[in-house]
Symmetry: C2
Subunit: 213 residues, 2 copies
């Protein structure tokens, strides 16, 4: 039942935010509450530098804050941290554990997302039983360095390829989300444009207006 | 039953080796076979730099090689990698997941070891239900940088404090293992002195002779 409820929420999620505490100008609980009020449906905790003990403690806090805000909670990279913090799922990069191994740690109810950068990776993620995919990078971003930019052409190709929830990702903000929508993207994931904003709720609302409009 | 057999093996293990592939001059499977032939009873895979996908693949290989050699296999830091590779257990540092959380990922049969640097950490590890402890650092080492050296006094204090299997660790080799034995240490863990040796079996035999003698 938890799995079905989470999948139902995911099916309706248009806006997904990756959070790193050091990137947020305010407290993480406030940022989560504001983002949720602005229409964010999924929060990913993305902490690459924390020792595991601190990461688990932060994940357990974020689990409480996201539950209160009524949004899905996904942990970056680490299925065992997702399990121990009772997150809704995990997000895996191409160098992280394969979906089937993460599934063995987390069980059938967990949401598993996969970052994809080519259409072959999209097909593999669908075959592996991913619940959603990240699609990018779309534009150059402050959060993560990439040398290749599959860009809007990739967003277009994914929209034609699969009905799996697909979040366009990478350098997306209110100024360019219209280009993603024009390319067929119906969902986006953002990091700094919401997390680092003085008014995360306002930025989230602007993004949602473009996606829903 | 698997748990009981592994605990029985641990009770008899005197020599424990931490392996990082990049530190071994030869192939990891050869190093494991030679170390086992020289009297090593536990192999820990310690890879801090590998992406998770490669780490899991390596752990699965080491699981095969340690099974063939008849020695215990423990994964550094990561209980989910230990579980997915069917390792005998996990070794946790003070910044890694707490024992009880690692136990939730791995189940009751898994061996869980904890690095300890103070007598308070030793007492906590016993309370937490650790199966063994690492005790150190004993001497300056090439593998890991430390500023504090609890040294031989700590080995002596641990021997007086607990009957839990305790492996003295840090810069130990054939040239100084006698000092560890004189301080009451009955088990040692080594890294470069065996892993980087041209003849790992010979070095392991020398260490075993000092520990058994």
């Amino acid at each position: 039942v938890a799995g079905a409820a989470a999948r139902e929420k995911l099916a309706h999620a248009r806006l997904y935010v990756l959070l790193t505490a050091a990137q947020c100008p305010a407290a993480l609980d406030w940022t989560i509450a504001e983002a949720a009020a602005g229409g964010v449906g999924v929060v990913q905790l993305r902490e690459k530098e924390l020792p595991d003990r601190d990461l688990l403690e932060r994940a357990r806090n974020v689990r409480q804050w996201t539950r209160r805000a009524g949004v899905l909670f996904v942990v970056n990279d680490r299925p065992e941290i997702a399990r121990l913090s009772e997150a809704d799922g995990v997000h895996l990069g191409q160098d992280d554990l394969p979906v089937k191994d993460a599934r063995r740690v987390l069980g059938p109810d967990a949401l598993i997302g996969v970052s994809t950068h080519t259409i072959e990776q999209v097909r593999q993620a669908v075959l592996d039983g991913a619940d959603y995919i990240g699609v990018g990078p779309t534009f150059p971003s402050k959060t993560k360095a990439f040398t290749d930019f599959p860009g809007l052409g990739f967003v277009r190709a994914v929209a034609a390829e699969t009905a799996l929830p697909a979040f366009a990702l990478g350098g997306i903000g209110p100024e360019n989300v219209g280009q993603v929508v024009a390319a067929g993207g119906r969902r986006v994931a953002v990091s700094s444009s919401v997390a680092s904003a003085a008014d995360p709720q306002r930025v989230a609302r602007m993004l949602r207006a473009a996606l829903d409009g």
